[in-house]
C-alpha cells in the first residue's frame, strides 16, 4: 500500500485533556501531603511503642522530604508535562513502607531472629538509590520511543536477567526460591528489573506483529483462533515462564511475566481469544508443574489448609518438608485488625516472624490500620495503575501505548499476586509488594518503572506541536474555463 494512504480511519475519535496545564504545582502540594502522612505515622509508632516521639523523626522526615523534593525538581525540569499523581502516590507508598519497616525493627522478637533491626535505614538508602535511578531515567530517556530500537536486545537482556539466578556460584537459594543473585555482599533480585526490560520487548514486538496476530485468524465457535505460526511467540513466552517455574520455583514471577504478555497481547490485538488461551495455558502450566514440584505443592497445601500447616510447624512433622505458620499468622493479623485496626505499633504482626517486613508487610498494615487503611492502600495502588492506563490512552504512538499498558499491567499483577497470596486468595508466592516491602531490588526497579511511566506521560500530555503549514495551507488552484 502506498505511503500516501492512511488506513486507520475507523479510529474515529481522539481523547485529549482540555488545555493540558502542566500541573506541577498540584504535584508539589500532593507531594508535601504524601511526605507528611508517613511522618505522622512515624510519630504515632514512636508514641505507641516507646511513649515518646522518636528521636529520628526529623532526620527521617527530612530524608524522605529531600528525596521527594529532588525527584519533583527533576520532573519539573525534565518532564514538565508529566502526570501529577504518579510521583506523590509512589512517594506515599514508599514512605509508609519505611515507617512499617521501622516499626517492625522495634520488635524484640524479630530482632532476635535477625529479620528486623536497622532495616529502615537500609530501606531509606535503597529508596535514595531508587530515586537516583528514577532521575537518571528522566535525564537520559529523552523520548521513550528510543527504547523501541532495543526491542530484541531487550529480549536477550531479559532472558539473561531471568537466567542469572540459575548460574552456579551466583544464584542463591533462599527458602526454596532461586530468584536472587549475590553481588559482593548484596543480593539482587534480577526478576524485578527483567519486568521492565521484558515490557520493552513485548511492546516493540507486538507493535510490529499486532496486525498479523489480530487479523489472520479463523473464527471457530465464536472465538478467533490465530494461525499456527502466529502462536509461536506466545508458546515461547509460555515455555519461558514454565521454565522459570520449574527451575526457580517462583510461581509469582512466572505468573507476572505470562500475565503481562497476555495483557499486552490483548491490548494490541483486541482479541478476547488470547485471554481465554492465556488463562487455559497458565492453568495447565501451573497444575502441571505443581504435580511434581514439592516446593509448589507445599505452597498449595498452605493455601488450602493454613491451619494444618500451622499445627504441623508447631508440633513438628517428620515428612522432611519445611512447614510454615506464616500464612495462618497473616490471616490472624488481618482478623485481629478488624475494621479500624489496632493502631500503629499496637499490633502483633511480628508473630509472622520470617518475611514479616517483606512478603508479609501487608499483614502489618491489615492489623494496625484495619480494613479501612488497607482499602486506602489498595486504592493508592489502583490509582497508580489507573494513571498508567490513562497515560497509555493518551499516548500518541502505539509503542508508548503498549509499554505503558505493559508496565502498569505488570504493576497491577504484582500487587494482586502478593496481596492475594498474603490474604489467602491464591497460593502464596515469593514476591514483594511494590514500594512497601523491604528489599532493594524491588524499590529500585519500581522507581525506574515509575520513571518510564512519567516519561511516557510527559510525551503524551505535552501539547501537540502546531501542524506543518504545507500543503493544506496552500491555496487550491481554481480551474478557469478557457
Amino acid at each position: 500500500m502506498s505511503s500516501t494512504t492512511n488506513t486507520s480511519t475507523n479510529h474515529t475519535s481522539t481523547i485529549g485533556s482540555i488545555g493540558t496545564p502542566s500541573r506541577r504545582n498540584t504535584e508539589l502540594a500532593l507531594l508535601v501531603f504524601a511526605v507528611l502522612i508517613p511522618v505522622f505515622a512515624y510519630a504515632n509508632v514512636g508514641l505507641a511503642i516507646n511513649d515518646k516521639v522518636p528521636a529520628g523523626l526529623l532526620s527521617y522526615g527530612l530524608g524522605l522530604g529531600l528525596l521527594a523534593g529532588v525527584a519533583h525538581l527533576a520532573v519539573r525540569k525534565f518532564a514538565p508535562y508529566a502526570d501529577p499523581l504518579l510521583l506523590p502516590l509512589a512517594t506515599l507508598l514508599n514512605g509508609l513502607g519505611l515507617v512499617t519497616i521501622w516499626r517492625l525493627d522495634q520488635s524484640k522478637l524479630l530482632q532476635s531472629i535477625h529479620v528486623a533491626g536497622g532495616k529502615a535505614t537500609n530501606q531509606l538508602l535503597y529508596t535514595a538509590m531508587g530515586i537516583a535511578l528514577f532521575i537518571v531515567v528522566l535525564i537520559f530517556l529523552k523520548d521513550h520511543r528510543a527504547l523501541q530500537r532495543y526491542t530484541y536486545i531487550s529480549m536477550v537482556g531479559a532472558v539473561l536477567l531471568l537466567l542469572l539466578p540459575l548460574v552456579p556460584g551466583l544464584g542463591a537459594n533462599v527458602y526454596g526460591a532461586k530468584i536472587w543473585i549475590h553481588v559482593g555482599s548484596f543480593t539482587i533480585q534480577p526478576g524485578e528489573f527483567a519486568k521492565i526490560v521484558l515490557a520493552v520487548f513485548f511492546a516493540g514486538y507486538l507493535m510490529v506483529k499486532r496486525d498479523a496476530l489480530a487479523l489472520a485468524s479463523r473464527r471457530v465457535m465464536g472465538l478467533y483462533l490465530p494461525r499456527g505460526r502466529d502462536l509461536g511467540p506466545i508458546i515461547v513466552v509460555w515455555m519461558i515462564s514454565i521454565l522459570i517455574l520449574v527451575f526457580e520455583t517462583d510461581l509469582g514471577t512466572s505468573l507476572l511475566f505470562f500475565g503481562m504478555f497476555i495483557i499486552m497481547l490483548y491490548v494490541a490485538t483486541e482479541r478476547t481469544s488470547w485471554i481465554v488461551f492465556g488463562l487455559l495455558m497458565s492453568a495447565a502450566g501451573a497444575v502441571g508443574v505443581a504435580s511434581f514440584e514439592p516446593h509448589i505443592q507445599t505452597r498449595v497445601q498452605a493455601w488450602l489448609n493454613p491451619m494444618r500447616e500451622y499445627t504441623l510447624s508447631r508440633t513438628g512433622s517428620n515428612d522432611g518438608i519445611l512447614h510454615s505458620e506464616q500464612a495462618m499468622q497473616a490471616l490472624w493479623a488481618f482478623g485481629s485488625g478488624g475494621t479500624l485496626g489496632t493502631g500503629w505499633g499496637q499490633g502483633h504482626s511480628e508473630l509472622i516472624r520470617f518475611a514479616a517486613n517483606s512478603d508479609f508487610i501487608l499483614a502489618t498494615f491489615g492489623e494496625e490500620l484495619g480494613l479501612a487503611g488497607l482499602m486506602a492502600i489498595l486504592l493508592i495502588y489502583g490509582l497508580i495503575v489507573e494513571r498508567g492506563l490513562r497515560t497509555s490512552l493518551a499516548a500518541r504512538d502505539p509503542f508508548g501505548k503498549l509499554l505503558a499498558v505493559g508496565l502498569s499491567g505488570a504493576f497491577a499483577l504484582q500487587v494482586f499476586v502478593v496481596a492475594g497470596g498474603v490474604m489467602g486468595l491464591i497460593p502464596l508466592t515469593g514476591m514483594t509488594m511494590p514500594f512497601l516491602a523491604y528489599g532493594g531490588s524491588s524499590v529500585i526497579a519500581n522507581w525506574a518503572l515509575i520513571g518510564v511511566l512519567i516519561r511516557i506521560s510527559d510525551t503524551a500530555r505535552r501539547p501537540a506541536p502546531a501542524p506543518a503549514a504545507n500543503p493544506d495551507a496552500e491555496m487550491t488552484q481554481v480551474v478557469r474555463p478557457s
Binding site: T4, T14, F33, I37, G341, T476
Partner: protein, 174 residues
C-alpha cells in the same frame, strides 16, 4: 501514652490517609469530565446542514466501521476495492471494508491527494445502509465529477464509473 490519645491518632491517621486518596481522586476528576472527544469527520458536516439527505447520512458511515462490510458481503456485485486510475497516485488501491474513505490534500485523509486542483477536504466515499457506495462532494473548490456530471448531492457509484477530482481519477472495482 493514654488510650484516648492513641485512639484519636489511630482514627486521625485513617482520616488523613483517606483524605489523601480523595484529594488524589479530585486531581484526576478532569479525566472524567474535562476531556474532549473529537469525532474526526463530524467537523466537516457543519455548514452543510441545508441538505436533509446529507444530515441523515452523516451518522451511519461511522457506525458502519464497527461491522466490516456486513451489508457489502451479501451483494453479488459489490465493489471490493477502490483504484486510482489517473493522476500522481495511479495504481494505488484501497480495500473497501465498510469504512468511510476521505479524499483531499489534508494529511488525515484516507487518500492524500497530491494535486493542486484538489481541496484539502475534497470528497468522501462511504457505504449507505444497504452497502451501496455513495460519493459526496465536501464543498470543494473545483468540484467532483462522476462520469461527466458535477456532483451536487451524494450519489451512488456504479461499478467502474470514473470519479474525477482535479487530475485524479478513481473508480470502484470488484
Amino acid at each position: 501514652m493514654s488510650e484516648l490519645t492513641l485512639t484519636v491518632m489511630r482514627l486521625g491517621f485513617l482520616a488523613v490517609l483517606w483524605l489523601f486518596v480523595i484529594v488524589a481522586v479530585q486531581v484526576i476528576r478532569s479525566d472524567l469530565f474535562g476531556t474532549r472527544v473529537t469525532q474526526r469527520g463530524s467537523r466537516r458536516e457543519e455548514g452543510r446542514r441545508q441538505q436533509p439527505a446529507a444530515r441523515q447520512q452523516a451518522a451511519p458511515p461511522q457506525q458502519r466501521g464497527q461491522q466490516p462490510a456486513a451489508g457489502g458481503r451479501q451483494r453479488r456485485n459489490a465493489p471490493s476495492k477502490l483504484v486510482v486510475s489517473e493522476g500522481t497516485l495511479t495504481g494505488t488501491t484501497v480495500a473497501l471494508q465498510g469504512q468511510t474513505i476521505t479524499l483531499g490534500r489534508a494529511h488525515d485523509s484516507t487518500i492524500v491527494l497530491d494535486d493542486d486542483y484538489a481541496s484539502s477536504r475534497h470528497a468522501r466515499i462511504y457505504p449507505d445502509r444497504d452497502g451501496q457506495w455513495i460519493v459526496e462532494d465536501l464543498g470543494s473548490t473545483n468540484g467532483t465529477y462522476l462520469d461527466r456530471s458535477r456532483l451536487t448531492t451524494p450519489t451512488p457509484i456504479p461499478l467502474g464509473a470514473p470519479i474525477r477530482i482535479g487530475k485524479t481519477v478513481i473508480e470502484l472495482r470488484k
